[in-house]
């Protein structure tokens, strides 16, 4: 299909630049993109007949990484090179 209507996974690396230019960066557009991403994740890993631990464990791992990133300042204060 056309470049602007393709999801991110089907865009090649060379076309990434043009694809980002066709994106809709208004609040509604971003909200819609977030909703679509979450619903596609749910449909793939959670709304299945025989899901495993993968569905929520990936969400928890992402949460861990995100919270580590937000608290990096605090962690690095107690590290070996604590000049920060």
């Amino acid at each position: 299909g056309p470049l602007s209507a393709r999801p991110l996974m089907e865009v090649r690396l060379g076309e990434l630049h043009t694809w980002i230019s066709t994106c809709n960066f208004s609040p509604q557009g971003l909200l819609g993109a977030a909703q679509r991403a979450f619903s596609s994740y749910c449909a793939k890993y959670i709304h299945v007949k025989q899901g495993g631990p993968a569905g929520i464990s990936m969400l928890l791992a992402g949460y861990c990484l995100l919270s580590y990133g937000w608290n990096y300042q605090h962690f690095s204060k107690n590290s070996l090179d604590s000049l920060i």
Partner: protein, 228 residues
């Protein structure tokens, strides 16, 4: 205002029946990394590529102290061990339990569906039977009509008989009256004639007739004596 010319159901899409859920979710390796990542790196680096990438990344983060090792690291390690042990041990049991719950839900839904299908089919059969019965109504009405016609006929004939009897009685009465009158006239006439005849026999005639009778008797006795 209903727009009767507006077409309905122009697309093939419909909300029911809902397509069934897929059997298995997306493949995930070690519970954390989706299989697409490994397939993405396979053409360039083969099978060990992502693992080498992971090890290198880990060592880089540790050595550059982007990931700081503190007391929470130990806590995280213990928690992860317990979680993985729990999942490995109790996973299949929980999965079987959830499957059983699902099966029960499906069974009740299917039972309801089958039951309603059954009731509708019995309703269809009964409807067909009623239609068959309705065909036989014409016979019933014919029989009833015949019955009523027979009743009317019987009533008519009964009344006809009654009329005949009454008329016959009246005519018999008239006939009997005439007969009686003629009889009475006859009797009366006979009596009258007898009375007059008896009256007309005068004494003179009586004596003459008696003398004649005696003469006749004498003559007869003479002939009888002669015969003997």
């Amino acid at each position: 205002v209903l727009h009767t010319t507006r077409p309905l159901h122009t697309t093939q899409q419909s909300l029911a029946p809902v397509p069934p859920l897929p059997e298995k979710g997306g493949e995930v390796r070690h519970g954390l990394i989706p299989e697409e990542f490994f397939q993405f790196l396979y053409p360039k680096t083969g099978v060990t590529g992502p693992y080498m990438l992971g090890t290198g990344l880990l060592l880089y983060l540790l050595s550059k102290e982007i990931y700081v090792v503190n007391h929470e690291t130990a806590a995280a390690a213990c928690i992860l061990t317990v979680i993985i042990y729990g999942i490995k041990k109790f996973g299949p049991d929980v999965a079987a339990f959830a499957d059983k719950l699902n099966e029960e839900k499906m069974a009740t839904a299917m039972a309801m569906k089958n039951e309603s299908i059954q009731t509708l089919q019995t309703a269809i059969e009964q409807e067909k039977k009623e239609q068959w019965r309705a065909e036989g109504h014409s016979f019933l009405f014919n029989a009833k009509r015949n019955n009523i016609a027979m009743l009317l006929e019987a009533n008519y004939r009964e009344r006809l008989l009654m009329v005949y009897n009454e008329v016959k009685k009246r005519l018999d009465y008239q006939v009997a009256m005439q007969n009686l009158k003629r009889q009475k006239e006859q009797d009366h006439m006979i009596q009258w004639v007898e009375k007059n005849v008896v009256q007309s026999i005068t004494p003179q005639q009586q004596k003459e007739s008696i003398a004649k009778c005696i003469l006749d008797l004498k003559a007869l006795s003479k002939t009888a004596h002669a015969a003997v």
